[in-house]
């Protein structure tokens, strides 16, 4: 396992040694610096210009342990977007390293980190729970009031 992974990395990084930079990262899902609380199904990166199949995504955990099973492809019908489906990930911090090769052969390469949380409360979820507890309280009061009368 440990020996096979660097070979894969070498292959994926080799595509960067072709030319110089052009395509810029416009949007990313998951976003840089985000804490993801949902089941992560894919990485989706959108660039400023069309990219080619030589583009790549690497994913690695803390301590630079590569995540296997990442096979990036240009989204069919959307040449600005690079996607990869995800294996099941454990909670933790992950770094995405991407390489985008534009149609004129010029690559760019960047990286960012996100965190996959085991369980976290988003503001929306916190609001839901608070509201639900409030209604349950009012419901119980009304129910007892209704039963006593």
């Amino acid at each position: 396992m440990k020996r096979a992974v660097p070979v894969l990395l070498l292959y994926l990084l080799a595509v960067t040694a072709v030319a110089h930079a052009h395509a810029e990262l416009r949007t990313a899902v998951p976003a840089p610096g985000s804490i993801v609380t949902y089941s992560l199904a894919e990485i989706r990166l959108t660039f400023s210009e069309p990219i080619t199949k030589e583009s790549a995504i690497l994913l690695f955990t803390e301590g630079f342990q590569p995540v296997t099973g990442i096979m990036a492809q240009v989204e069919p019908g959307n040449p600005h977007t690079l996607i990869t489906t995800m294996p099941r990930l454990s909670p933790g911090d992950y770094t995405v390293q991407w390489t985008a090769v534009s149609t004129d052969g010029h690559p760019t390469s960047g990286s960012y980190t996100f965190r996959l949380a085991r369980f976290a409360l988003s503001p929306t979820r916190l609001w839901q729970i608070s509201l639900t507890l409030l209604f349950l309280g009012v419901f119980v009061i009304l129910w007892r009031w209704n039963r006593n009368s």
């Binding site: 110089h20 690695f60 980190t113 503001p123 009031w145």
Partner: protein, 281 residues
């Protein structure tokens, strides 16, 4: 009436419970920093690794210090390199940082940048580079190829010698072979200022021009346009002669015609001066 009120409240509560969650469960940030690598050829030894730091689409500001530690990925012995301080070059269109760590082994190296902000907060940003035993571009210490690049003597149309809007004729006066005979240090820029119009590429020739204005004839300055055909984008033969598959590159040759320094990608005037000044008379 009480029954109606009770029923309405019960429905309200059920509705609140069933409200859909936000599609993206993002609650706060980890490290928002994004690293963008600015060069691609790293050879064992002390490779120059240049990178920019972004927060979203904009450069991360208020950075007071950046250190970078390295470890060899997949190495069972855990080969690691102590953190080195990155040199900031903020007098460029996009601020960038450079490290030259001791990376003695080829392979994939994981780099961890620790970025200290002006308020004392420290954030980390990991990234990877591939280090090879040999590069493709002419290496530091090697003798420069005596290239017969085009000059105004062989191509009088300045706009065929450069894709730039306003080429400086001083950069097209001599071949590299000529420069090697002068006994002066030489700066050679392989760049296509008009056809690589990103914030990374375009300012490189401006940096060379700024240094030329400051240094004058103490050194030779040559621009080699990357393309000899601006329609079909075919490379000039000097690109292969120098082993260049990317652009821009800037080379600094010493007075003996050997490569004293080389820079792939963005290059600020200050970084160029640091390499050139020790070679000047």
């Amino acid at each position: 009436m009480r029954q109606i009120l009770f029923f309405v409240m019960a429905l309200w509560g059920l509705a609140a419970c069933g409200r859909p969650a936000a599609p993206a469960g993002v609650v706060s940030s980890v490290s928002p920093a994004q690293i963008q690598r600015l060069n691609f050829e790293y050879v064992v030894g002390t490779p120059r690794i240049s990178f920019a730091i972004f927060d979203g689409p904009d450069p991360l500001t208020n950075i007071s210090n950046v250190t970078v530690a390295a470890q060899l990925v997949g190495d069972e012995n855990g080969q690691a390199v102590a953190a080195v301080t990155a040199v900031p070059y903020t007098n460029y269109e996009i601020p960038y940082w450079v490290i030259t760590p001791q990376l003695p082994t080829p392979g994939i190296w994981g780099l961890t940048a620790v970025i200290t902000l002006a308020n004392g907060e420290a954030i980390t940003a990991p990234f990877l580079v591939e280090v090879t035993n040999e590069g493709q571009a002419i290496a530091i210490g090697a003798a420069a190829p005596p290239s017969q690049n085009r000059t105004l003597a062989t191509e009088p149309d300045l706009h065929k010698l450069s894709s730039g809007n306003d080429p400086n004729p001083a950069f097209y006066q001599m071949t590299i072979a000529d420069a090697l005979q002068t006994g002066k240090p030489t700066v050679i820029a392989f760049a296509t200022p008009g056809l690589c119009q990103t914030k990374w590429c375009t300012p490189v020739l401006d940096s060379v021009e700024a240094v030329f204005e400051a240094v004058g004839d103490q050194a030779n300055f040559i621009h080699v346009e990357v393309y000899d055909d601006f329609q079909n984008l075919t490379f000039v033969p000097e690109m292969a002669e120098w082993g260049l598959q990317t652009e821009p590159w800037v080379y600094v040759l010493d007075t003996d015609g050997r490569v004293a320094a080389r820079f792939e990608g963005p290059l600020s005037p200050r970084e160029l001066r640091l390499a050139l000044d020790p070679l000047l008379p």
